[in-house]
């Protein structure tokens, strides 16, 4: 009985080690392995260097239309305005010209911030009200290469799809309405 107890006592520090190692492994799994497993990485069909277009205003491609809707990613016709012929000799540029501009095909970009169908988000009320684009979007000003599009394997949403709770928090803090109808269609 005594012996048993001492054995148990002896295993106490060891037990802590086991627990700790289990804890650490779980942390690694939970914080690193799992997110990597949960999100698949998908490459964009074509690379776009925001840095290379730094001479342009953001608004010349991403702007509000006259009806208040947001233009999002520009279509191939906008690309063609400058890229009627190749503007360099990279492979991406050649692909842009031969696969899209010449065939008049739209580039099927994977939209990082794409919201589900039942969500209505308008840029018009958010833009220019003390909110920088980078409040929600990544800073692309110096970005040479588009990051991989990461899709949640369970939900099918993009990693950057805004969560409702984030919308609500901000709306609440700014005194904006949090009615369902404001964001759902």
């Amino acid at each position: 009985m005594r012996q048993k107890k001492s054995k148990a006592l002896a295993s106490k520090p060891l037990g802590a080690v086991f627990s700790l190692s289990g804890f650490i492994v779980a942390l690694v799994v939970g914080w690193i392995v799992f997110p990597n497993l949960l999100y698949s990485k998908k490459a964009q069909p074509l690379n776009f260097s925001h840095a290379a277009h730094r001479s342009e205003e953001c608004e010349s491609c991403h702007s509000l239309r006259a009806d208040g809707t947001y233009s999002g990613i520009p279509g191939i016709s906008r690309c063609r305005e400058c890229h009627e012929s190749a503007q360099g000799n990279s492979r991406e540029e050649a692909s842009l010209i031969s696969d899209y501009v010449e065939k008049n095909r739209e580039v099927v970009w994977k939209v990082y911030g794409r919201q589900p169908d039942n969500v209505y988000f308008s840029h018009a009320p958010h833009k220019g009200r003390g909110l920088e684009c980078t409040r929600c979007h990544r800073d692309v000003s110096k970005e040479e290469k588009l990051p991989a599009y990461r899709q949640n394997l369970i939900t099918g949403y993009s990693l950057s799809t805004m969560k409702m709770v984030e919308c609500e928090k901000c709306h609440a803090s700014k005194g904006a309405s949090n009615n369902c109808e404001i964001c759902h269609k």
């Binding site: 295993s11 060891l14 037990g15 802590a16 086991f18 627990s19 700790l20 190692s21 289990g22 804890f23 650490i24 492994v25 779980a26 942390l27 799994v29 939970g30 914080w31 799992f34 997110p35 949960l38 239309r65 009806d67 809707t69 233009s71 999002g72 279509g75 589900p116 169908d117 949640n152 369970i154 939900t155 099918g156 949403y157 969560k163």
Partner: protein
């Protein structure tokens, strides 16, 4: 140290702790929740910029200006009215709003097809290329023409007025055949009546917007389609001040939508509206309450008259005063009380701006020529045919005329077997209305033969009353060529199909609106690229003309349909008439011939551009003045009826009530069957779209069963319960139906909706009830040879299966 059970539990405990402070469980829970709300198979509509493109609706003859909403400029998602159009002011009808369901219809024909098996075998229809299809058709047409069999080409096209029908006529004329027929419509009778009384070949038009009292003889104004644009414009005009300023009196047997929404419903026995008109005329004449001056100066045949041989003939006054038209006698025929007839006549006679209308709206040609004349006579008595009157003739749109057809020296007119035109020439002056006679002749096969029949924007196998006539005629026609965009009943029987684009994929135009007093022209350019491998039938005709022979080619010199339309629009520009309406407040519905419209366009190019941008062209009505009859007056006694030989009975020159001789015995068929056109089905070339299926009430259609309306009293006599399955039989055919006991029905009459009972198309269209057209009987009008759809005798038997 060994990793035992205890160690495992300790590690696991730690792991649980670790997991709990990692995002894993929370993320999984949240994602699972989202996953459970995500139904991956439900469609996710493509997003993008939404724009509008202007066009004109051609789904009926109403010519409403519409806008198509497009996503990213290439995906049409809905049709809206065009708020800039003064006729519609942005309104649209349910068929127009459903329009894209035809563009995206699963039953569209995707490419040319050829029947390789037995006719009517859908699986035998094999896709072929356009080159093959055009080559085959061109070769056949060329051969027929070379063999002197031009007249064996026949065609059936839609009854809406467009440049397309003019192109068809040009094609047929230059090819050497006069066997081109429009689908029958109520406008045929209006045209015939106008021709008989005024000597002019355009149909009567009604100034709905200027009337204050409207006596409607069976005109289903509110049932939609046809003249919906005109009716709704008038309706808005009537209610502009909030309260309806016009009294609408509806005369018919069934309490239709129009009757229900009218200010007064005058219920008469089916098919006796003209008797009531004559009775009203009787009272007006007896009391002298008619426009005496107009009748004296401008009307021929009111008093007794002498024909060319000097024989004394009875005039209208004499006839209408005779025994059959006293209120007492008319009461017996119509089922109204004599006092009511007197009262109605007095009201009509005493009201200012009172107008009698008929054959406008959703209507078959339910009236023979003499009935049309009776309604016209009421307007003559009111003096409505004066210049600026409420009744005028549909004005012509000054489009450029097509070049004269060049006679082909090679195709000798006398060679070959006689065509239909030869058979019938000299028989009747109004031969152009002989669609049913044509079917009869082909069916009997003795008088003529048809080698090839072309059908465009028509579905006669389903949609003409007594449709088996077409089916039987078709058996005698070796080749049926369909230009249908859809696999409709007729197209399914075709030997060759050259599918047309649908409305918003092609150039279309609308030349005038039926029964509208003002002139109207609207144009629609394609709003999107064609979805399928189809071709504009106009372009196909131009191409065929090029391959058949020099004279045909020379008669149709345009390179494309767009060029052809541009050519036509130049005619309007050169006429310097009318104006472009680009604002909704142009009082187009109020226009009378007293007003003149100043052109607001400077060049043909500007006109074309404005038309293309969705504006319509309009012009004031043209006055009826100057009757072109033999007497130079409005002929109540229509002398042209007897142009080919004096008629024995004087009344055959005059408007009169001519009850039909119905087939079948009254003892066997004790009831009358009336087919009606409801607002929620379509009855012509287009089937009822899925959106409109939701509008069909369950008292009309339940599952696959059609319900007929029966008055409670009649149902009680027959011991039928509501919903009971019964068998409806006429001399023409029968159908299993169910009973809807309704107070809208007249006792002794069975009312059956049209537009159901399709057997082609897809699951969303077919298998819904029975086709009323296959039960109806068509009578050939003795004057105009037009098919007249009268009530027919019917019987109802209870089916063994009993109630449901």
């Amino acid at each position: 140290m060994n990793f035992g059970r205890r160690a495992f539990i300790q590690a696991a405990g730690g792991a649980i702790g670790g997991i709990l402070v990692s995002p894993l469980p929370w993320q999984l829970a949240a994602d699972s929740a989202k996953w459970s709300q995500n139904w991956s198979w439900r469609p996710s509509p493509e997003r993008g910029e939404i724009t509008r493109a202007a066009g004109v609706c051609t789904m009926c003859e109403g010519g409403c200006a519409v806008q198509v909403r497009l996503v990213n400029g290439n995906r049409a998602i809905s049709i809206e009215g065009n708020p800039a159009n003064p006729l519609s002011e942005g309104g649209i009808c349910p068929l127009g709003a459903s329009g894209l369901q035809f563009l995206y219809a699963p039953y569209r024909i995707a490419q040319p097809m050829k029947q390789t098996g037995r006719r009517g075998d859908i699986s035998g229809l094999k896709p072929i290329s356009w080159e093959e299809a055009l080559g085959e058709l061109g070769k056949k047409l060329g051969r027929m023409r070379a063999e002197g069999k031009s007249r064996e080409l026949a065609g059936i096209i839609s009854n809406s007025a467009s440049s397309m029908s003019d192109l068809w006529l040009q094609f047929f004329t230059s090819y050497g055949s006069s066997n081109l027929f429009r689908m029958p419509s109520a406008a045929d009778g209006l045209r015939l009546a106008a021709q008989l009384t005024t000597g002019k070949a355009s149909p009567f038009a009604f100034g709905l917007g200027n009337a204050e009292y409207i006596l409607s003889f069976g005109s289903n104004l509110f049932e939609g389609r046809g003249v919906a644009s005109l009716v709704f414009a008038a309706l808005r005009q009537w209610t502009r001040e909030g309260k309806r300023s016009v009294k609408l009196v509806q005369v018919e047997s069934r309490c239709s939508m129009t009757a229900a929404r009218a200010d007064r419903f005058v219920a008469v026995e089916p098919g006796t509206e003209a008797a009531l008109a004559m009775g009203i005329a009787h009272v007006m004449v007896r009391r002298g309450c008619y426009d005496v001056d107009f009748v004296k100066d401008k009307v021929f045949g009111f008093e007794d008259w002498s024909d060319n041989t000097g024989k004394k003939r009875r005039g209208f006054k004499n006839l209408v005063s005779s025994a059959p038209y006293t209120p007492e006698e008319v009461a017996k025929v119509t089922g109204l009380e004599a006092a009511k007839i007197e009262e109605l006549a007095e009201e009509f006679a005493s009201r200012q701006k009172a107008l009698a209308i008929w054959a406008i709206g959703q209507a078959d040609n339910v009236n023979g020529a003499y009935h049309h004349l009776a309604f016209a006579a009421l307007n003559a008595l009111k003096g409505n045919l004066k210049p600026n009157g409420l009744v005028s003739l549909a004005p012509a749109v000054p489009l450029a005329g097509l070049p004269p057809v060049q006679k082909d020296p090679g195709a000798d007119e006398s060679a070959g077997p006689p065509g239909l035109d030869v058979v019938r020439s000299g028989s009747a002056p109004y031969r152009r209305y002989g669609f049913y006679e044509f079917l009869d002749d082909v069916r009997e096969g003795s008088k003529c033969s048809v080698e090839m029949l072309l059908v465009h924007e028509a579905n006669p196998l389903y949609s003409i009353p007594e449709n088996k006539l077409f089916e039987q005629a078709l058996e005698k026609v070796p080749t049926l060529v369909s230009f249908s965009s859809y696999m409709d009943e007729t197209a399914a029987k075709a030997d060759l199909i050259l599918p047309d684009h649908t409305a918003f994929e092609r150039y279309v135009d609308v030349v005038g609106i039926p029964c509208a007093p003002f002139s109207y022209y609207a144009l629609g350019a394609p709003v999107m690229k064609p979805l399928l491998d189809t071709r504009h039938t106009g372009e196909v005709l131009l191409r065929l003309a090029g391959s058949i022979g020099a004279p045909v080619r020379a008669s149709m010199p345009w390179k494309s349909y767009e060029e052809y339309l541009r050519f036509r629009v130049q005619g309007i520009a050169q006429s310097r008439k009318g104006a472009i309406a680009d604002k909704p407040d142009v009082p187009i519905i109020k226009l009378s011939s007293a007003q003149s419209v100043q052109p607001n366009y400077s060049s043909g190019e500007e006109l074309w551009k404005k038309l293309k941008s969705g504006c319509c062209w309009y012009d004031a009505p043209s006055p009826v003045a100057g009757f072109e009859t033999a007497s130079g007056k409005f002929e109540l006694a229509c002398r042209s009826i007897g142009a080919e030989g004096a008629l024995g009975d004087d009344k055959l020159y005059l408007p009169h009530f001519a009850p039909a001789e119905l087939s079948g015995s009254e003892s066997e068929y004790p009831l009358l069957l009336v087919a009606y056109k409801p607002s929620y089905t379509t009855v012509g070339y287009l089937p009822t779209p899925s959106f409109m299926n939701k509008l069909i009430p369950d008292k009309v259609l339940q599952g696959g069963d059609i319900l007929i309306e029966l008055h409670p009293q009649t149902a009680a006599e027959l011991k039928f319960a509501h919903g009971q399955r019964v068998f409806l039989k006429t001399t023409q055919g029968g159908a299993a139906v169910r009973v809807n006991i309704s107070e809208a029905a007249r006792p002794g009459v069975v009312y059956m909706p049209q537009g159901l009972g399709h057997w082609a198309y897809d699951l969303y269209v077919r298998g819904k009830g029975a086709n009323a057209n296959s039960l109806m009987e068509v009578h050939l009008d003795p004057v105009g040879l037009m098919g007249t759809l009268l009530p027919c005798r019917a019987q109802l038997r209870s089916e063994e299966r009993g109630n449901l």
